[in-house]
């Protein structure tokens, strides 16, 4: 058993088991698909869970790297590695690995999988075998994204998860589902193709310098580390990567696809979109855009842009959310605001900021899915997402109302919930680097109350006027079972985040140190060129 968790097989299993499960769910037919999907989800989660304990903070594994045509083993701070040749003449490998950052993203995905199946249990009534097959296939792509360390493999996972998501929105979505699905697809593909061009450029660069074709993440890292990329090259390549990730996050002003996709998607689609898919964007920044092009990322232009867009995202999204009549759209905009915090934390370039960003990613991945689950449950009972249709739920369905209030508090980062710890860390980190930015961003926390509380008040506490709101059943056992783990985890992280911070600490520290160095190098470079203010990218 230990051998399984020490080798890449656990990751390989987590990637491909859902795919096999998708086939099984499909074959089980419309009747049995959800049972099969549930079991697949539970097994997937249970298999992934021990990773939390077997994860070795100091773990590392040798990676074959190429220098001047010679292959040598270099130790990298990753674990569960593998590098099996896939297309050897291009240097493409099936190369996986995991560190403290990927660990939690993988665990988040596998946790949400069985919950999504439960959340769709009665929500999805049509073409069930297709639905659950798509959901499981999507998981394959998502897990793959978080552990792929070969750039082409990463790109493949990054792209293929679009297809199931596209079908989830387009087939089981709301009235304007086709528009939403196509918009989602085209938006993300535009960014991805530019990233592909950047990856190819790196490939040629590496091939020319190292003498061997390679797509390895570690080899690409050597390019910037060895000063083999000019500042201008770094800037353009960073732009290619950053655009793809910024669309995915989504950073303001690339967020316009998100409200449509969220509102039209079925509950499970919204859950995985908010819970995991958006994090693929911020994960991309942390894993690829920053370490591959540290100087470009640490340039004045980039930092200013990131801070401004992050803050604008926080404030603007909060204001737009406050006037949404549609509850689901409101929650969608809160995602934009929360991910603005992540961007701030990442570009603070210090340990607190980065840890905070990672923790926001986890916390948001728990609280927002919870809100979407709750809204889905409400929709099943009332067939509406319009806030004005609701009222007085505290009287008619008290359990639901309690959980909704809790989820809303978690979303506005009340102390004791994961949101508080994480946003606090982000603000501390940002304050250390950019006090003004932190001050402005802190108002976002107040704005969160400004949009979330009226929604809660209207839904839960207003007078119970409509009879349609009176005669509805409260949460059943299945629904409570799927919400309970989320509540527990939000509280756990809110009260005792140490086990989580500990595990992500080495990876975060490495990146933060690297970026701090890069920033220092950049400042020194600009100073030697005589103009810090208008330094070239």
């Amino acid at each position: 058993m230990q051998a399984f968790y020490d080798s890449h097989w656990v990751l390989t299993f987590l990637i491909f088991f859902p795919l096999a499960g998708a086939a099984a769910a499909f074959l089980a037919g419309d009747r049995g698909a959800r049972q099969v999907a549930l079991w697949v989800g539970i097994v997937e989660f249970l298999v992934s869970l021990p990773l939390f304990w077997t994860f070795d903070r100091t773990g590392s594994c040798p990676q074959p790297t190429v220098r001047g045509g010679m292959s040598e083993q270099v130790s990298q701070a990753m674990q569960n590695c593998v590098a099996a040749p896939w297309i050897p003449e291009w240097g493409v490998h099936y190369r996986l690995g995991m560190d403290g950052i990927s660990l939690f993203m993988v665990l988040l995905t596998t946790l949400l999988l069985p919950l999504m199946v439960l959340g769709s249990w009665t929500y999805i009534r049509e073409r069930q075998k297709w639905f659950y097959a798509m959901l499981l296939a999507l998981t394959t792509g998502v897990v793959g994204v978080f552990v792929a360390l070969d750039m082409l493999l990463f790109y493949v996972f990054w792209e293929i998860m679009l297809i199931p998501m596209y079908f989830l929105i387009g087939i089981w979505g709301g009235r304007e589902r086709i528009y939403a699905a196509v918009k989602f697809f085209l938006y993300t593909t535009v960014g991805s193709l530019l990233m592909l061009v950047a990856i190819l450029y790196l490939f040629f660069k590496a091939q020319a310098l190292f003498g061997t074709p390679t797509f390895s993440y570690f080899d690409f890292q050597q390019l910037a580390a060895g000063n083999l990329l000019s500042l201008r090259e770094q800037g353009l390549l960073f732009l290619g990567f950053a655009l793809a990730f910024a669309i995915k996050v989504p950073v303001f002003p690339f967020h316009t696809w998100l409200p449509h996709a969220h509102v039209q998607a079925p509950t499970a689609g919204s859950v995985i979109l908010a819970g995991v898919l958006l994090k693929m964007g911020t994960y991309g920044f942390i894993r690829f855009a920053l370490p591959l092009f540290p100087l470009a990322a640490a340039s004045d232009t980039t930092i200013r842009l990131a801070l401004v867009l992050g803050i604008v995202g926080i404030i603007y999204a909060a204001m737009v959310a406050a006037v949404q009549p549609n509850a689901k759209k409101l929650v969608a905009y809160t995602s934009v605001a929360h991910l603005g915090f992540v961007i701030l934390g990442i570009f603070a370039f210090n340990l607190q900021g980065l840890q905070g960003a990672l923790l926001v990613m986890i916390g948001h991945g728990l609280s927002t899915p919870m809100l979407f689950f709750l809204l889905g449950m409400l929709y099943e009972r009332r067939h509406s997402y319009e806030i004005e249709d609701f009222g007085g739920m505290a009287a008619s369905i008290p359990v639901f109302a309690t959980v909704l209030v809790f989820a809303a508090m978690a979303s506005i980062a009340l102390p004791g919930t994961a949101g508080f710890v994480s946003e606090f860390l982000v603000l501390v980190g940002t304050f250390r680097s950019y006090p003004i930015a932190a001050l402005i961003a802190a108002t976002g926390v107040i704005f969160a109350a400004f949009y979330m509380l009226p929604m809660v008040q209207q839904t839960v506490f207003n007078a119970l006027r409509s009879p349609a709101n009176r005669d509805i059943p409260d949460l059943n056992g299945r629904e409570i079972a799927l919400l309970a783990p989320l509540v527990a985890l939000i509280l756990l992280i809110g009260v005792y985040p140490k086990p989580f911070l500990d595990r992500m600490d080495p990876a975060a520290r490495r990146l933060a140190d690297g970026m701090e160095n890069a920033r220092a190098t950049y400042v020194a470079m600009s100073a030697s060129m005589g103009n810090v203010a208008s330094a070239p990218r």
Binding site: P85, W86, I87, P88, E89, W90, R127, L152, Y155, V156, E159, I160, I163, F167, G170, I171, R177, I178, A181, V182, F185, L186, T189, V190, L193, L196, V197, L200, Y201, F203, F204
Partner: protein
């Protein structure tokens, strides 16, 4: 593996070996014709079900003969035909394209009441023409091969005599095809005048010298040859015949035209320009650059507006000619291998996509408009899935061979310093996502309409289903085991190395 056998093409008798696949297929074509005549009672009767299978058997036999070619080594190097791995690879593509066309025609011909044995025989002879084209190392032979192929296709396009659109397409294709043949022939004449020979291996070494003397005749000849071949591969602005001919032709013929015919013309293109005229790359590449750029941009933009899937696929195949031209232009850096690889994937996905169009047709109409596909994915889960695979592969999406193929072309283009074309290729693919995706939207996300009586899709025979399924599986397999076909394509392209020292393929990777 067979032991290498030396072939000396200065001896007439050795041509029997060098042309083995073509000879086998020609004889087999006559056999099929005879069997067809004696099998049926009178003229108006449809041909027997055995005929298509017999034709496929002929293609298989030619395939075996083709594999046999691998065992030969051409020692003279100056014959009319080339015996190299490039030809063998290209031949397999032609045979595959012919076989797919015959498989998907099984349901179609009966439905349209045009089940005649001649159809299959003409497909076989068209394939013979294609194989000769890829083989020819002499411009005269290339011209004859072009005509053998084209004349068979002219007839096939107009095979559905009672359908005015079929006749219209045939007439247009014939007139413009004859026109382009004239260009090609005139180009041969001028080239002969400049180089003193029609043999490509003789022309090759003289090119550089002739250019230094400022030989305009050679330039004019090359330009005319490019126009002639440009017509056949349907590059913009020589593409105007394509949509009408593709749309009017019986769909299996469209599948054959957009795969085999195009592949053959491209194979000739690479023999003439990639090898023989490689010494004047800087001249013809300028025209080629604009051909490729225009083809990619224009075809993709027009494809956006098509309401008929058959026309949409016609424009998509024009767009793919643009991608293949990019591969050709970067032939000195692995582009030839990228070209062969893409051709293989392209044949599978395009023929497969046309196969699905046939599967959705009914006796009354072809049912190729977008609306006819509403709910198709739910009615025919397997065909719908296969169609999705083909469309995604045409768009160049990961998990499909089309992705690897496009990546290969991009890599070759960037290595040759053709960055503008690489950027256009990426942008064009992005545009193409939209119209390929739209089909998937309609197939899965729009409710099916109520069908008019008698318009229900006809039953799809198992052989057609099998061919479509096999093509879809192959498109996926090419992605997951890319290494194997990639290596094969690279070895085959490497065999193109001309004997001249100035050859561009010397640095093939």
């Amino acid at each position: 593996m067979l032991a290498e056998r030396a072939l000396d093409l200065s001896r007439q008798s050795d041509y029997l070996w060098a042309l083995l696949p073509e000879i086998v297929l020609s004889l087999w074509g006559m056999l099929v014709l005879m069997v067809d005549v004696f099998q049926k009672g009178n003229r108006s009767e449809p041909s027997r079900p055995i005929i298509p299978w017999l034709a496929v058997a002929g293609l298989v036999a030619a395939g075996i003969a083709n594999a046999y070619l691998l065992g030969f080594q051409d020692t003279s190097g100056a014959g009319l035909v080339a015996v190299d791995r490039f030809r063998v690879f290209a031949n397999f593509i032609f045979l595959l394209s012919g076989a797919l066309a015959i498989f998907v025609s099984m349901a179609y011909l009966d439905r349209r009441g045009i089940n005649r044995g001649e159809f299959h025989v003409l497909v076989l002879y068209a394939v013979v023409g294609m194989m000769l084209m890829a083989a020819s190392r002499d411009l005269m032979l290339m011209f004859i091969a072009l005509e053998v192929m084209s004349v068979s296709i002219y007839v096939l396009v107009g095979f559905d005599r009672m359908d005015p659109r079929s006749s219209e397409g045939a007439l247009k294709y014939f007139l413009l095809g004859a026109f382009s043949s004239a260009f090609f022939l005139y180009g041969i004449a001028l080239t002969f005048g400049a180089a003193g020979s029609t043999n490509l291996s003789v022309i090759g070494p003289t090119v550089a010298g002739a250019l230094q003397d400022g030989n305009l005749m050679l330039l004019a000849g090359a330009a005319l040859l490019m126009v002639g071949l440009g017509f056949k591969v349907a590059a913009v602005p020589f593409h105007v015949w394509t949509p009408d001919a593709y749309d009017g032709a019986p769909t299996p013929v469209t599948a054959l035209m957009s795969t085999g015919v195009k592949a053959a013309a491209f194979a000739a293109f690479i023999r003439v320009f990639g090898v023989a005229f490689s010494g004047m790359y800087e001249y013809w590449s300028q025209i080629g650059f604009w051909l490729a750029a225009l083809t990619m941009v224009v075809a993709n933009l027009i494809a956006l507006t098509q309401g008929s899937l058959k026309r949409m696929l016609a424009y998509s195949s024009i767009a793919h000619a643009g991608y293949l031209l990019v591969a050709l232009l970067s032939a000195q850096t692995g582009g030839a291998a990228a070209f062969l690889f893409y051709l293989l994937v392209y044949t599978l996905m395009t023929a497969g996509a046309f196969g699905v169009l046939i599967a959705n047709g009914s006796g009354v109409s072809e049912r190729v408009t977008l609306e006819d596909y509403a709910g198709f994915g739910w009615r025919h889960p397997l065909l719908g899935a296969a169609f999705s695979v083909f469309l995604l592969s045409l768009a160049g999406f990961p998990l499909t061979g089309g992705f690897i193929g496009k990546l290969y072309i991009l890599r070759a283009a960037l290595e040759s310093g053709l960055q503008p074309l690489a950027v256009i290729l990426v942008m064009a693919s992005l545009v193409s996502y939209f119209y390929y995706l739209r089909v998937i939207v309609v197939m899965y996300m729009q409710p099916a309409r109520a069908e008019a009586a008698g318009a229900e899709p006809a039953r799809v025979p198992a052989a057609t289903r099998f061919a479509i399924g096999a093509a879809a599986a192959a498109v996926l397999v090419v992605f997951f085991m890319a290494s194997w076909p990639l290596g094969w394509a690279r070895e085959s392209a490497a065999s193109l190395t001309p004997r001249t020292e100035t050859g561009l393929f010397g640095v093939n990777r």
